[in-house]
Amino acid sequence: MKKVIEILVIGGSAGSFELLLKIIPRIKIDIKFVVLIVLHRKHNTNLSISELFRNKTPLPVLECEDKDKLIPGSIYFAPADYHLLIEKDRSVCLDYSEKENYSRPSIDITFKSASDIYKEKAAAILLSGANKDGAEGLKHIYQNYGTTIVQNPNEAEISTMPNEALKIFNPQYVLKVEEIIDLINNF
């Protein structure tokens, strides 16, 4: 059973950068939803992550700034070292507050916020990672009737993050990367 989705949030940590290199170039150019990526990474580099992906897809790839409007058909990255929340008018609200699950940006925070705003029209994917950030947030999306996807832990480079989610609820999908790509392109 498939639903129309308006936002796809992808959360990832250690091992996820390479997955994004596989996934992003293959996202079809006629997607009708927002793609928002929350990736744990080191900050204090002058290099912007969006630039790394910009030439890999014809879709616009942007690193969010304060109050940016989220526009369907675009790929956004949460900036390093800020939490990212979403306002009712679908603009971005950045927050430089305490780390959550030792992480900033925290995947939990953005998953929860996306779910509060987009409700059942939110979909989220939790990829490889070494901590438990994202699991609770994904469950929140599930409870709000959104679509939840966890990378198959057997395939994840570091399976802690997918496993933490599987410990606390049963997402609609547990998929390998190839299957994830197919699903994204069929939303």
């Binding site: 204090n44 969010c64 306002e87 609200c93 927050d95 430089y96 507050s97 929860k112 916020s113 609770e136």
Partner: protein, 274 residues
């Protein structure tokens, strides 16, 4: 565990209006998504089981107000956060300020002072500190008290030293502080030219004219309306050809200042052109 939302949108609006009326602290134009999260977080941390419970405490226990403000106004900060920003200040802006007979800087939303000491060190290294005054302000009196002491946790110093080096600092960073057990104290002379004061950007007026206003990671907490008011306040407080510096994800793009301010290359620094 994920914080369950105890405080909904309508509760939030009611509480913020009441706090503004009773205490004069106006948070009604703060970004809804983040302030809602902060207030739900307070409920969780302080174990308020219902909105009514939180509301009663905030409105009837004056001593709880400072706790409330502290949690609502996020005070996380760092020394030389975004070293490249400080490098730009060091190389492109501060030397230009040096031509003035005196230098007036306003650091708005300075939190516990990490930024203040970072800037003061830059001025000392440029040999301009003797003619500079830094006005360091924040809404929250508690963080200012901390800022005045210049005492920070020692376990942060590795990061701060790294940041300082990346900002183009060439001294031995440890000469700026003395270490005791678990904390360090920044040297007294670094705050000689600093005036600490409370100032609420949402309600207080302009109090001087400056050549440089630095306000980082404060505007992200304000909605567009309040941001616009604060941009007007900054505009009124900035000399012609003065500079406005914001946080690394903040912008004047959505404000009318966009027409009269010119961005300094790709930095989050804008020059007032008229």
């Amino acid at each position: 565990m994920m914080a369950p939302d105890i405080v909904g949108d309508e509760d939030l609006e009611q509480l913020l209006n009441e706090v503004a009326n009773v205490y004069g602290y106006d948070f009604t134009e703060y970004s809804k998504a983040s302030i809602k999260r902060r207030i739900n977080r307070i409920c969780l941390l302080d174990k308020h089981k219902s909105f009514a419970e939180l509301r009663y405490k905030v409105l009837n226990d004056q001593s709880y107000l400072s706790r409330f403000i502290e949690e609502v106004t996020v005070n996380v900060t760092e020394m030389y956060r975004d070293p490249f920003f400080y490098k730009a200040l060091r190389e492109k802006i501060i030397p230009k300020l040096g031509v003035n007979p005196y230098i007036k800087i306003w650091l708005a939303g300075c939190s516990t002072g990490e930024e203040v000491y970072s800037i003061s060190i830059l001025l000392h290294e440029a040999k301009l500190a003797h003619k500079a005054i830094i006005y360091a302000t924040d809404i929250n009196p508690t963080v200012l008290e901390k800022a005045k002491t210049g005492v920070f946790a020692i376990n942060q110093m590795k990061l701060y030293t790294e940041n300082y080096n990346n900002s183009g600092g060439s001294s031995d960073f440890s000469t700026y502080y003395s270490a005791n057990y678990d904390h360090v104290s920044f040297k007294e002379y670094l705050r000689k030219n600093v005036i600490f004061s409370t100032h609420n950007l949402a309600s207080d007026r302009s109090f001087n004219e400056f050549q440089l206003i630095i306000c980082r990671n404060v505007l992200i907490y304000f909605d567009k309306n309040l941001q616009d008011k604060v941009f007007n306040l900054f505009d009124a407080s900035l000399e012609k050809l003065g500079y406005l510096a914001l946080g690394s994800k903040e912008t004047i793009r959505f404000s009318h200042l966009n027409q009269t301010y010119k961005q300094v290359e790709k930095e989050k620094i804008w020059k007032k052109t008229r």
